[in-house]
Symmetry: C2
Subunit: 198 residues, 2 copies
């Protein structure tokens, strides 16, 4: 099975000195359970849903060939909800339109899951990520895409929050935080259902 993970710097695993991030840890845990996954990490630093919408239609086809079982995991939103120079990087309604467009594109190629954006340390930014996560959750539900809420779940997770503080930018965790995030996805019924099909 080939799985592409599509997202931003948190998908890349920026800040993890082991260069695994949550994606590498999740796949390694699945591999230890005897599964054969090829993982493509298509996270790109600082990207919003608008950037992702514009590249994903080109980047998935070479990686997800019709002859192989294919899956896509989406994960973005923290950059959409960021305010820079007094302006939100992507307005809420535009983020939703982008998610709709991305899911529509990806669904033509493979089944899709979405892992919601994790919390950040800044209170204002975090509230906007929570709001966006709620809207993403409803959009995914409407489109029949399983959605894993992460902002509130990891906002109660001491390992994740300590890791955000330790990493220093208030935005990316280091190894322990990525391990906490991988653990939540590994326990998720929708992910486990995919793994049973491997």
């Amino acid at each position: 099975m080939r799985i592409a993970f599509v997202g931003d710097s948190l998908t890349v695993g920026v800040g993890d000195p082991h260069y695994l991030g949550w994606v590498g840890r999740l796949c390694a845990a699945s591999s230890l359970a005897g599964l054969a996954l090829t993982a493509y990490n298509l996270g790109v630093r600082s990207e919003t849903s608008t950037h992702i919408k514009n590249r994903i239609g080109r980047e998935l086809p070479p990686r997800l060939l019709p002859r192989d079982e294919a899956r896509v995991v989406l994960s973005f939103g923290v950059n959409d909800a960021k305010v820079e120079n007094g302006r939100r990087k992507v307005e809420l309604s535009q983020s939703v339109d982008n998610l709709f467009d991305i899911v529509t594109q990806v669904s033509k190629l493979s089944p899709v899951l979405m892992v919601g954006p994790p919390p950040v340390l800044d209170d204002g930014h975090r509230s906007r990520v929570e709001e966006l996560s709620d809207v993403f959750s409803r959009t995914c539900e409407d489109m029949g895409v399983p959605y894993l809420e992460m902002c509130r779940a990891l906002g109660r997770d001491t390992a994740y929050l300590d890791s955000l503080v330790a990493a220093g930018d208030g935005y990316h965790p280091e190894a322990a935080g990525y391990a906490a995030m991988a653990g939540k996805v590994a326990e998720w019924e929708a992910w486990q259902a995919w793994m049973r099909g491997c």
Copy 2:
């Protein structure tokens, strides 16, 4: 510094249950030495130089932004030299033309290094990889791109060969083989020069 690693399944790290491959191990070793690298793994399974030539001009620009220091490491060739149904997947002269085209495209964006294709177990295939590696080495020299010969170097490396046997397909190693490959790149003067500039 942002580094994109462009290649095939060996660049992805297929066969490594830890989901690091040589790219992850190389970056983690550099990170432990106190460097801040963002690594983009743009390896795709089963790709030849022809596939890579056709996608790389689209995939690098979103990852290598003008505001950041950017670097690209190329590594491919094993699939070019494969014979399927009595035909070589990419003729030698076409592989060289592809490499020339890829280096020309990438050089407009960033400095380039090339890590040559590693050995495989099949004798006929391995001879063709060695021949291709020699031709790639000369092409890179002509273009001013540092080239790291891997096919002969790892062909004398017991850890790599044992790892190829252990993995079972005669083509991809498992963890120990990828560690051996990462070690050779980490010791390479051209790589070390980049890391000193970080």
